[in-house]
Amino acid sequence: MSELADQLRTCPNCGQQNAMHSLKCIRCGEVLEDLFVFDDIDADGQEPTPESISGVLASLNENDLLTDQTETESSDTTESQPIEGDEEGRSGDASQTPDWLERVRERTRKEDPSGEMVKGGQAMDKRRAAGERSQVDQAFDEVIQRIREQSEKERKKTRKMETNLVDEDGVPEWLRRIRELHPAHEQDAKQVLTGSQDENFDDEWTDEELQELLRREIGDEYNPGEQTVFTNLTSSNNPEIAEDQSEEESESLPKYEIPRDFHNIPDDDFDEPDNTKPTKPGNPELLDKNEDPPETDNEGPDIEAEPETGMEVQNLLETPPDFEDEESEQPEEEENEEKFSITESDQIENELEEHADELLLEREESEQAEDREKKSLKPLSTEEQVVPDLLLLRDQRDRAQVLTNIIEQEGHRTIPVLHEKNRQSKLGRLILALLLLAGVIISLVLGPGEDLNLPLSQPAGALQEKTAKLQTGDVVLVVLDYQAATSSEIEELAKPVLDALSHQGVSLRFVTSQPVDLWLGEELLPSNDTGFAVKIEFIPGGLLGYLTLTAGSSPDWGMTPIERVVSDGTKLLDETSLVMIISDSPDFVRNWLEQISPWHPDLPTLAISTSLSEALILPYFESGQLSGFLAGHPGGEGQNQQANQRAWQVGMLIMMVVLILGMITKAEADAAVKDEGHNHA
């Protein structure tokens, strides 16, 4: 048989090379019918009978090559009486025929009437057939064993697939994935599962057990070694069959030394049938014949096949193969047994194929259910949806979606540019600026308008009142702290006040901590004809320098470095009657009030600042820390100031209109964006 195994067979249908023992083509499934062709067996499977052998011998005698014409004619007329004339004639032909043929003819003439020659040939044929049959049986057993191994491998694969598809609790894989996708229906799924678990449990039990049992029981039909087990099993239930079989075993059946627990299933997959287990419905091994078959109406189509299988096994148990005592019927029985074994192996393969088909159907159903679940899910936030080539969990899908979004945004700008150039906004800004310039220029060119008698604000009135009280000889410390950008406004406010003080005979002392103010402050200096100070002193260190000169004291060992550059040093505020801060920064005013003024609480402080600082330094005037301040456009006398007042009003009017239009436009834009957001939502 090893030679047979090495040989290959070509499928007549598709030309596929198959193993010698293959029953079907592995490619097209074509049945290879001429597998078992033995010597002395016709193509139909009919073994030659003794009559056919005698016919052959008769035809051999009638052959022209072996017999002459005269002998044939005499033998037809007088077969039983020897003729002397014939013997002479034969002796004359003896030189032409071989010796062995002559002996055969003599033996035929002696024994042919009684048929001894034929019987001897039949006995020899029987003896030879018995030896060949034993070899055929062995070869057949090996073929069947290989078929079983192949079927076991396929069953093992399907079992692994089943174990992978079902978890510990018996929940199928597709159901667990659907639950992960729909946690809200988990409770319902659990309820369904509680009902289906029992079914699945019975399904798995009966399926596996019945498959193994069916395979083992059917194999007993043609496997003599396992037939003993079958006989023992059936003898316990049917004593009549057991008696018949015990006689047949000793006489007709050949004995093979196969272990009782012989099986072709691998050890890791083979489960010993546990007789201690309680009898389950559909388990034919422990099934009582008197019991009714289990009810399987509630089970699915997969389970419906189980009672059929159980019924088949039960029928096999009830109607075991009928072994006959007569020896003449033995070849036919063996022939039928071979056919039966082949048909049973086909049944196994068919069952395996059906089981595989069922698994495929289950898988297709689960895939269809997954597709329905996916279709029922809402699309993700973005328009493009992740193509579910694989079944993904929710977090995995979210991550995939995030990754998709990142890939989509690749190359796009995610951080807005602060100063993005917009042609429209640039044009609008230009128009606004030109409009403002035009308004201001026209108001300046048209010349002075009517005299404006604008009332002074309360802080400005307080400042005017405070300066008016100064007398000749008083010293006013003027602290300069402004920049060139605001010099026009500052100078416009401070110049009249300082001129008025100069005319009052008040001594002005200009100090600054800003280098720029050393030459900007020159515009504030009173005219030389007044004869007052025109020097601006620089105080290094900013506010800290002022604090040093205000709060510090001269040490005994000499002068500090700052006292070297500032005249009078630490006595800067000692002889001062009033402090006037001229600054465009409200912070400087506040810092002065916080750091310097507390050291001289009785020293009044005035401030001249820009309109920007007006709102911020007003609380200090309300609290009394500032005696008065002058900020913003104060109005005043003179043509230029009146013209500037008109230009200032025009500019403010234009800006107010622009602000109102801007607010309206912005409100409309926000409303449009909000509507778009609602539409998108």
Binding site: L436, V440, W519, R590, P598, S611, G624
Partner: protein, 225 residues
């Protein structure tokens, strides 16, 4: 008008027009004007600091070495060297010493000055606004003063509560009552009014500067007409 003043006026007009050219976008003329302003200011500041600070306060006292003023002059010299070392070394630890000294000194002065110069006087101002002498005038209530005092008190409390409520909102702590949100909105209104006043002041300052520059240009043009 003298020739020098005429040239200076012409230079001023040209520089003003170069600055106004920014309305057409960031161009070369605007850049020249800005760089010229920054360069002149920095140069002038450097000259002032050298002539009026470094030489008289750091170099001159060293002539009296080893007297105390000379020794004291070594302290700013040492701090200056430490600050300059940051320009030539990767480590900023040496420069951290004078900077830390200044930062600590300013922080201490700021805290003391704010407490003494702003918080206490402003609180006293609010309390003083309810002074009976202010809210009663000639035996009759001065409703203007009373309204002003209450508005001041309401504004202070509402603004303080707005910042407190915003910190809670940042921490995702929902306010239990709606009136808290409403009161916080009142503080937001006061803050908006304040910022509006600041914006108006800023625009007024810029408008005044614009008027002054245009007035100079018009005067210069009238000079030639």
């Amino acid at each position: 008008m003298p020739d020098l003043n005429l040239l200076l006026t012409l230079a001023g007009v040209v520089l003003s027009l170069m600055v106004f050219s920014y309305l057409l976008g960031d161009n070369l003329f605007f850049g020249i004007a800005m760089y010229l302003l920054a360069g002149v200011s920095a140069g002038y500041t450097a000259v002032v600091l050298v002539t009026r600070v470094i030489i008289p306060m750091m170099i001159m006292p060293l002539a009296d070495f080893p007297q105390i003023p000379a020794l004291l002059a070594l302290v700013p010299i040492l701090f200056s060297i430490l600050l300059l070392s940051a320009m030539f070394t990767k480590s900023s630890k040496p420069a951290g010493l004078p900077l830390g000294f200044l930062a600590g000194l300013l922080a201490a002065l700021s805290i003391a000055g704010i407490a003494r110069g702003t918080l206490a006087p402003q609180l006293l101002s609010i309390v003083n606004s309810f002074d009976p002498q202010l809210v009663v005038s000639e035996g009759l209530p001065n409703w203007t003063a009373i309204f002003e005092a209450f508005m001041m008190l309401l504004g202070v409390i509402a603004v303080l509560f707005y910042f407190h409520h915003r910190s809670k909102t940042k921490n995702n702590l929902q306010s239990p009552d709606l009136w808290l949100d409403g009161f916080s909105g009142v503080g937001q209104v006061f803050i908006g009014i304040t910022f509006g006043a600041v914006f108006v002041g800023l625009f007024g300052t810029a408008l005044t500067a614009l008027i002054a520059s245009l007035n100079r240009i018009i005067d210069f043009v009238r000079l030639w007409l």
